[in-house]
Subunit: 114 residues, 2 copies
C-alpha cells in the first residue's frame, strides 16, 4: 500500500461522531492509555516525546487509533507532527467521562498476588 | 479442549484485582455493553433473558469476558446460571466510573452522515 503523502489531511471525527465504544477500545491498551495520560498533563507534544517504548510503526498505529476515535488531534508543522488531547470535544459529547477514566487510571494497578 | 463440568467454580477476580484496561476492553463491544446496560436495570437475570441476538457460544464468550474483567458475577442454581452486575465492587475500586460510562452509553449514537 502506498504510504500517504505528508499532505494527506489527517482524519478527525466531528465531535458528534465520537463513539463511546471506540473510545473505550482505544483506551483499553496500555500504550494508548499512557499517551492520553501524558497529553492530559501537557497541552501539545511532538510525536517523539512520549514516554512509551514501542517501534515507530507501532506508535503510529496507536496514534491513528486514538485520532480516529476522537481522543486526540494531530497537526503537522514542517517536518513535525504535534498531538493534543481533544478534552473539550470529549467533555461536550460525554461529560465527565474522560476525567473519570483518567482518575481511575491513577488508581494502583492490581497486585500480582496477595 | 474438554468442556469444563458444571461443577467447576467460575473465576471471579477479587475487587482489588479488577483492572481498568480490562474493564474498558470488556465494555468496548456492543453486545457486552447491552448486557451491562440490561443488568444495570435489574438485580439478577437468567442467562437466556438478555436482549441480544448472538449464538449461545458467542454469548458464553461475552459473559466470560465480562466476568473475568470483574464486571459481572455469575452463580449456578440447578440448571440455570444467574448473572448480576458487580456495581458495588466496581464503585469501590473505581468510584463513579461505571455510572459515567453507562450515562455516556445512553447518549445518542453518532449519526451515519450529516
Amino acid at each position: 500500500m502506498p504510504r500517504p503523502s505528508r499532505s494527506t489531511p489527517l482524519f478527525h471525527p466531528e465531535p458528534e461522531q465520537i463513539d463511546l465504544l471506540e473510545i473505550l477500545h482505544a483506551l483499553s491498551d496500555p500504550t494508548r492509555m499512557t499517551i492520553v495520560q501524558t497529553l492530559a498533563a501537557s497541552p501539545e507534544r511532538a510525536c517523539g516525546t512520549f514516554p512509551v517504548h514501542v517501534a515507530p510503526s507501532t506508535l503510529s498505529h496507536h496514534f491513528r487509533v486514538l485520532r480516529e476515535a476522537g481522543l486526540i488531534r494531530q497537526r503537522e508543522e514542517g517536518t513535525r507532527r504535534w498531538t493534543s488531547l481533544r478534552a473539550d470535544d470529549l467533555d461536550a459529547r460525554y461529560p465527565g467521562l474522560l476525567e473519570r477514566i483518567l482518575d481511575a487510571s491513577h488508581t494502583a494497578s492490581p497486585s500480582p498476588t496477595s
